[in-house]
Amino acid sequence: MGVRRYTKMAYKDPDDMVFGHAKFPVLEHWNVQFGAGYVVPEVKVAPEAGTERSKDTLVKEMASIAEQAAARAVDIGLPAFMLEQEHVFQQTYHPDWGYACTLAQAEVLKKYYDEYGVRACLRQTVGDLRIEEKGGLRGSEYDNRIAETIEECCKAGASDIAAETMGGKSVLDYGVMRGDIKAILFGIGYLGSVDMEYFWTRAVNICSKYDTRPAGDTNCSGANTCMYVAGGLLGKDMSHTAAALARAISAARSLVAVECGATGPLKDCGYENTIIKAITGVPICQEGKNAVCAHADVMGNLTCQVVDCWSNESVFHREEMGGPTPAVWLQATGYEAALMNTAIQTGNAKTLRDLYTFTDMYRDPQGTLLAYPNAFRVGKAIVEYGKDIYLRARAAALEASKIMMEAYEAKLLQLTRFELDTLRKYTSILESLPMEAEIFVDQCMREYPRKIPTFDPKSYGL
C-alpha cells in the first residue's frame, strides 16, 4: 500500500467530533470496537524492575499484569477494555521474548473473554531501539529486530501494534535545549515524517498478514518531550507556547502513520491525536488526568473531549492500597469511560465534551491549542498543504500561533512575558522560512549536521 496524503478533512464541522464516535471505527479481537459509539478504557503497566533479567521471569510478569487487569474489569463490571504493553528493551530486542510475552497476555484475555464475555484487546507497543549513531535508523541490527518482533507479536495474538518512533529526535533535542524553532520544525516536522514513512510502511505490511491492526504512532519522543520539559506553570526549561507549537508540528508528523495505512486507535500519549482525528476520522486513544502516575500535564480533562479509548500512563507494577496497579489504574480509566458512556446513552455527550474542554481550554496555551475547535483549525491548515511534509508542518505551527495570539488578545488566555516573547519570536522565524521544502532542507543541512554529532542524515535518505 502506498502513502495516501490527506488533502481534505474527514470532519466538516468540529462540533461533529465527540468522544466514543469516529468516522471510521476499528474492530479488534476479541470483539472490541473503537469509535463505534462507546469509549473503551485502557490500562498499561510497566513490568517490575528486575523481571527483565530472563525470558521466563518477564513472561510470568506479563501474564500477571494481564490477569490482574482482567480480574478487576470483571469485578467492577466493565463491558470492554484494552490492555497495552509498552515493551521494555528486552521484549523488542529478543523477538522470541516478544512472542512469548504477547502469547501469555493473549491467553489470559481470551480466557476471560470465553468465561465472562468481557471484550478485551491487546496492544503491543514495540520499543524503538534504533539509535542514529549506532548503525542508523534503517537496516541496523536494532531496526531488523523491531521488524521481527512486530511479526512475532502479531503471530502470538496482539490485537494491534503501536509505536513511539524516535526519528528526528537528535535535532529536536538540540532545538529544545537552544530554543531553536527551526530545529524543532526540522526534527519533528521533516525528519520525523520521513522516518515515520519508512517505519510504518513496513509495520503496516507486516500487520496486514495477521488479524492485527497497525494502530499508529505518537510523537512521544518529540512533542511529549517538549511538554515534559515545559513542565508545570513554574517550569523553567521551556516556554509553554513553544511546547504548543511543537505539538501542532507533531500532528503533521504523526499523521504519516495513518497515511501509510495505520487504522487507529492511535496511541494514547499523542496529545496531537485530536488534530489527527479531525483530519482522518480514525479513532484515538488518549491520556490526561489518569496519566498522573507518570507525569503532570496541564490539560488533564481536555484530552477526554473526543477520545475513543481512555488510558492511564505507564505505572510501576506493584501493590497499592486498592490492589495491584493493573487493577487500580484500569478501575480509574474504567470509571472515566463509564461517565462518558453514560453521557452518550443519556444524550449528554456534547455537554460533557464541552465541559471537559472548557475546564482546561485557557489554563495553558497547550490546552488552548488542543481544544477541539482549535485542533480542527490546525488540521485544516495541515491538509491545505497536505502533500508537502515540510509546508504542512510549518502551516500547523503558524495556525497554532494565530490561535494562541487570538486567545491572548481576547484576554481569555494569560501569558507570561517569556511565553509571549517566545511565541512572537518563533512566529516571526517560522514566517521567514522558505516556501520550498528543498530550500528549507538545504538550509538545515548546512547547519545541523555540524552542530549535532548524533544526527545521521543518511538515516533519512539525506
Binding site: V88, L233, T359
Partner: protein, 275 residues
C-alpha cells in the same frame, strides 16, 4: 457553541490560576537584578566579557575575548570575566528569570570565548574535576544526560560523555580510566534503570569507589537509587555541578544524600524530609 458562551460568562479565577503570570515581577535588565549585581564585575574588560555571556552572544563574547587578551591574561579573561557571566546566568536560572535555552546559549558563548583564551594560554584551563556521564544500556533517551553534561561543563568540570545505550562494562572501564569525582547515570525506563545497581555492584566488587554516583531520569525515584551503595538521586540536571562540588569538598555519598537540599541550595520536594 457552548464554549463561546461560557468563555464570556465564566469567572476563570474560580476554575484555575496561572500562577506564573501572577508572580511575574516587572521586566528588569539582567544586569539590574540584585543577585547578578553581586557577581557581575564592575571593571573592564571583565564586565563586557561577562555581559556577552549573560546575553548568550557568541560572536560578541569571542570578539570581547580577543580584544581583552591583548592586555589581559587568558586565565583572568576566563575566571574574572566569562565565568562570572556564567555565575550570573545560573543565578537568573535558579530564580526563574532565565530559562533553559538562555543557559544553553550562554554556555555556547562561554565555550567559544574560552576556546580563544585557552588557545592563547597554550593549554586547557585547569578543570575542577572529572565527571563521567552515561545513559543506561538499552535506553536511547539522552536529553537529561545532555543537560547534565552541559551544566557540568559550564561550571568548570571536565565532563566525559559516554553517550546513550552504554553497556555496563564500558561504564566500569571509563571509571577506571578517568577516576571521576562523580559518575552520573540517567534512564527513562524502569527496566533500564536497573543498570545503576548493577554498575554500583560491579564497581564495589572490583574494589573501585566513586565518591558519588548521581542517578536520575524519567522513572527513576529516590527510594530506588538509595537502595544501592554510592547512589544519590539527582532531581534536576542543574543540581549536578553542586553535587560534584560537594564531592570535591570531601563529602561522602551518604552525607550528600542526607544534605541534598542544603547542597543544592533550594527547596527540593523529593527531599522534603531532609530539609
Amino acid at each position: 457553541m457552548a464554549l463561546l458562551d461560557w468563555a464570556k460568562k465564566a469567572d476563570f479565577d474560580m476554575m484555575f490560576k496561572r500562577y506564573n503570570v501572577i508572580i511575574e515581577g516587572p521586566a528588569i535588565k539582567p544586569e539590574d537584578d540584585p543577585d547578578v549585581k553581586k557577581v557581575l564585575p564592575k571593571e573592564e574588560p571583565f564586565r563586557t566579557l561577562a555581559m556577552a555571556v549573560i546575553f548568550g552572544d557568541t560572536e560578541k563574547a569571542v570578539q570581547a575575548a580577543k580584544t581583552a587578551l591583548e592586555r589581559t591574561s587568558p586565565l583572568d579573561v576566563i575566571e574574572k570575566g566569562l565565568a562570572k557571566g556564567m555565575d550570573a546566568v545560573s543565578a537568573l536560572y535558579a530564580k526563574g528569570a532565565y530559562f533553559l535555552p538562555d543557559i544553553m546559549l550562554s554556555a555556547d558563548a562561554m565555550t567559544a570565548a574560552m576556546a580563544v583564551a585557552e588557545q592563547k594560554l597554550g593549554r586547557a584551563r585547569e578543570k575542577k574535576g572529572t565527571v563521567v556521564s552515561f545513559v543506561a544500556e538499552g535506553d536511547p533517551h539522552d536529553i537529561g544526560k545532555n543537560l547534565v553534561v552541559m551544566f557540568l561543563k559550564a561550571n568548570g568540570f571536565e565532563a566525559v560523555d559516554l553517550g546513550r545505550d552504554v553497556p555496563d562494562k564500558e561504564v566500569i572501564e571509563a571509571v577506571k580510566k578517568y577516576k571521576p569525582v562523580m559518575l552520573t547515570g540517567t534512564a527513562l525506563m524502569t527496566t533500564t534503570m536497573t543498570a545503576f545497581p548493577r554498575v554500583a555492584k560491579a564497581l564495589q566488587e572490583q574494589g573501585i569507589s566513586v565518591p558519588v554516583f548521581g542517578c536520575g531520569g524519567g522513572a527513576v525515584k529516590r527510594d530506588f537509587v538509595e537502595s544501592y551503595d554510592m547512589g544519590v538521586y539527582g532531581v534536576k540536571a542543574f543540581h549536578a555541578p553542586k553535587l560534584a562540588e560537594a564531592a570535591l569538598a570531601g563529602k561522602s555519598w551518604k552525607e550528600i544524600r542526607k544534605e541534598y537540599p542544603k547542597i543544592v541550595g533550594e527547596f527540593v520536594a523529593e527531599y522534603a524530609d531532609r530539609m
